[in-house]
Amino acid sequence: MKYLDLAMNAASSLGAEYADIRIQKTTDQVIYLQNLSLKHTNTEVMHGYGIRVFKDGAWGFAHSSVFSDAAVLATVQKAVDIAALSATVNKNKKLRLAPERSYIATYKTPVQIESLDVPLQEKVELMMEVNRTMMSYEGIKQAVFYLVIHKDEKLFASTLGTRLDLTNQFIDPMIIATAVHEGDSQSRTFDEGGRAVGWEWILSLDLIEKARQIAQEALIKVKAETMGPEARHSLILDPNHLGLTMHESVGHPTELDRVLGWEADYAGISFATPEKLKNYRYGSEIVNFMGDNTLPEGLATHGFDDDGVPGQKWHIIKDGILNEYGSTRDTAMEIGLDYSRGCNRATYYYDQPINRIPNLYLMPGTKPLTPAELIADTEDGVYIQGRGSFSIDQHRVNFQFGGDFFWEIKNGKLSRPLKKVIYKSCNPEFWNSCDAICDERFWRPFGVVNCGKGQPSQSARMTHGSAPARFRNIRVGGSQ
């Protein structure tokens, strides 16, 4: 596209030390069906470009949705002017960019069936059937099917000579059954998070059967007993629960911008400071976390990030020790790294990219172990599936999590369903209490599609994953 060269030539001639342009078209189709009523059916297309200029140790970023030579040149000029203003403040605190080579590349999320091309009627018919299935159960008061289909088409160019053509997409189905019984109300959710795949995933899921299951489990849950006062128990956490726990307690603390204090005013900072690299025991020896922006079907697998840095795979925690952060070109240099891990991502064309969590997952156990064997080996504990309430302090130390479905474990057996269970723990106690992880046969991904961060706030996506894992001696109990 001619605007790529026009913008980069203009930025160079105006004295930019580095500049890039990201022309981005984002298409979101959102369908929200509640009790057979389509509450929200919308297709949104946001198309525009953002231009970043780096000059004298400072950024300027300007955006526009007007596609003309004059508008592109005016936007470049605005970005240059803003960078110059920023530089007046950064005189004694100049940012630097980690070295990077140029790339000319194309990346497309592999899909078999384009989700946006599937007729609306076909989608809605499936959703209605799922809704009807849930509502056929007496006691189910509300049935929801929330479907998000997202596609980003980006053209990226930089003054390094990089030219990228990137198409990323994901689909995220969520179904919720809410039961009311004797003055209480409880929901059960089918939620695997989003996945970077096409409509073929939906066809493989057997959502009618999932609807039956969650409706039945909502009714079990609303009639279940609560747990009673807080006490120390073992926890066995399913991948679709553990995904959010690792997101909050490992993903965010190892974003380098937080470590540097760049999020101090809003999202917070991190306890995992640079002097802890390579020596801090974050977890037990079986705890290995990978950052992996090459993960197939991963929501942060984009080919390249918005710095033009390719996707990579690296240890964030190795054998329980804090190993490395997720970084960007401007954060890496602040701790003396001469390379970025490619974690700079923006949500829409009008967002300046920021340091985000990569695809981040817990490696499976290396010895054969099934979930049934893990439960059988646990005398006293709680098995938690799905995500519930989640809250963590702004240094990412103290946290409290709920879940979506709970079973008490007694003498190696699932003894009774529970509701309103929460657990409290902190870093590094929690990950050091991990004493067993099921093997790779039971590893499952869990996609997060709404990771909020930044000022102005942006929503990013990434995939987590794990096999079921056990944590010993955690404070578990009923709420209030």
Binding site: E44, D81, I82, L95, S391, K420
Partner: protein, 424 residues
Amino acid sequence: MNIEKIAQYIKQNATADDYSLNISNWDSHQTRFAQNGITQHIAGEKLDITLSVSFGTKTGSCTINQDDEASLAFLLKTAEDMARLAPEDPEFMPSATAAVLPKVDNCDQETRELPAKQMVEIVQTAIDKAKAIDATVSGMTERHYGESYMLTKNGFVGSNCSTNFAHSMTLKKGSVETKVDYDAKRFAPFSLENDFARLAAQAAALEGMQVFEPQKIAVILRPGALQELMWFMGWMMNRRQSDDGFTPFTDQLGKPFFGPKFSWYSTLLRPELNSTPYNHEGIASVEIPWVEKGVLKTMPTNRYWAKKVGSTPSSTYNVYIPGGESSEEEMMQMVPRGLIINRFWYIRTVDAKAGELTGMTRDGVLYFEDGKIKHAVNNLRFNEIPHDVTRRILALGANELASSHASIPTMLIDGFNFVDKTSF
């Protein structure tokens, strides 16, 4: 953006039985700084055009951000195609009809024209002041100017414009972290001198932190902390969710469900508050008592549910919680001991039916005893039920602008339930 052109195109070309057109355009400048340097600096305009259409009771909608004719044709075709394919909606509501809208004054020319250079000078001054006390400062300076329009086939026409200036600062000095922020529709009342002095005073008070165990204890909640709690409680007050039995407010309408010292309004009468003339459904803003002297008077209700239950549709457009006359010093005299909370963080629902929330304190917790501040303490986790908290209000302070949409007083609350602590 040419509103007339967009509206004309839709009027001339729409084949749908009904439609509703919403347009907004925001011109923003945002300077983000951290650890005494600028890390992000963003400027630009954002246009949103949303068209919702219906054929009979079948609905569809589309949103775009460009207003050329080809884009408008795409907008119309996409929305109408979706509606044609959609099933009948048993909860369909036709678009809003003509309404008399209140006059609001949300727009300030000085704020709209605030130069980028002046915003950067504010950042520079804040950094200089932080350096002068061997501290670092992080935050954001931003100004926004927005215009919005809504029209429907059934005759509703509305427009609004608003400005906003905000400046936040988080100061870090040693292990002390604390924050102040300004968020209002006008720039003129902003004083960096005053805000930084408050920030520095807060930081000084927080030095010498001592370990404090979680417990039930009286708290003085400052407006920045209360705003977060109230937002979550307001979200749970939805009428339909309550009627369906999902929230603690089921069957509580008209009853004294809150504490008698607690009232909550959305109001057009407070000039400092931003107040939109209509909501996204085309409902004109009016004076709304949500809670009056502890009695639940009104619950947010959309047009469909209001029609079904014979109520009036309503939505929260701003928050005004009337305060009292107690100062923090007087509040500290009213209880033997307690904590002063600057702000809460990461509040989430623990039990929707009970209305129970969890969250952390942030940006400074002070312990007081015998009417005097003794020392700072570590941050704490709470599990609490906000409507129950209002039953434990012991005293109310003067109102403060917590944000451009919320005027909230400081409150003295008895027996606030802290359940865990941090190491910092």
